[in-house]
């Protein structure tokens, strides 16, 4: 029973798509609409770049020169505290103790 419930929750999360979180120049926001969980990295980068350049991401000021070439795409499966797929694009974070 519990397994069936978990499978149903997982399927619902999959059907709902992934939320896309974007960090650009110290600003952060989500794409207004969810995307397919299986969208490719190239598709996501193109979509995100266009959205930031045109000012379509609430919380991020439009930047016609936005470029995510050197950014990292993370994909997070749903968890108990975050019951949806999350895709995040962010700057590299190599430092901790400079």
């Amino acid at each position: 029973m519990e397994t069936q419930l978990n499978q149903a929750i997982a399927q619902a999360a999959l059907n709902a798509g992934a939320r896309v979180n974007v960090t650009w120049r110290s600003m952060n926001g989500d794409l207004p609409d969810p995307v397919r969980v299986d969208a490719t990295d190239a598709e996501l980068r193109a979509m995100i770049t266009e959205a930031v350049r045109t000012g379509s991401v609430p919380g991020i000021a439009a930047d016609p020169r936005a470029d995510f070439t050197d950014f990292v795409l993370d994909r997070f499966a749903p968890t108990a505290v975050r019951p949806y797929h999350l895709i995040a694009i962010r700057p590299k974070t190599p430092f901790g103790a400079p």
Partner: protein
């Protein structure tokens, strides 16, 4: 008693130690670096610590301010001493500044099945992460040797990231729940 190991006590690690001063666990700090004048603006190291080993300066500061005794090791973490330094830890918190040492930590904690929280900052102080090892991928520098968030301008954001790391560690030590965070100056999200 639980043992929490902090690897790297510079910008993030020194503040994480300070924020974890009330936990019911013994802190153990590892770092082979010394405090430089430029570190004083962004790290929990005072001017009196300049020239000292970072672990020694931190040990003395925590004792002076809070009467907190921590254990320290002034060694660089390597594959051949990882067992000696990290073995038996209840939690490892990675606050180092290079991909090579992060990989040493990741390799050992995965082999030894030790929970590990990684702290990481973008070079320009625009983004931070407090991520559990199962979700963590090591980022290397795009331009090795590039300047990092060394000047005091980034101190508040460094402290926010360190506080989120300490919060994640605190929650884990109390309840076993592993919450990770991605942090920007305008928003923190749970991952």
């Amino acid at each position: 008693m639980k043992r929490v190991v902090i690897v790297g006590v510079g910008a993030l690690g020194s503040h994480v130690a300070m924020f974890l001063r009330n936990i019911d666990a013994k802190l153990f700090a590892i770092d082979d670096d010394r405090v430089e004048q430029r570190n004083v603006t962004s790290q929990f190291h005072g001017k009196s610590g300049v020239g000292k080993l970072k672990v020694q300066a931190l040990q003395q500061a925590l004792d002076f301010f809070f009467r907190l005794r921590i254990d320290v090791s002034p060694n660089r973490l390597r594959d051949d001493n990882a067992e000696q330094l990290l073995g038996g830890a209840s939690l490892v918190i990675d606050c180092v500044d290079n991909g090579a040492t992060r990989r040493v930590i990741q390799s050992y904690v995965r082999r030894a099945n030790i929970p590990c929280l990684h702290g990481a900052l973008a070079a320009d102080g625009s983004f931070g992460r407090a991520i559990w090892d199962e979700q963590f991928i090591v980022d290397d520098e795009s331009n090795p040797g590039a300047a990092t968030c060394e000047n005091g301008e980034f101190l508040p954001f460094i402290a926010i990231t360190a506080a989120q790391l300490a919060l994640a560690a605190n929650v884990y030590l109390k309840s076993g729940v592993r919450n990770g965070f991605q942090i920007s100056p305008t928003r923190t999200i749970v991952v």
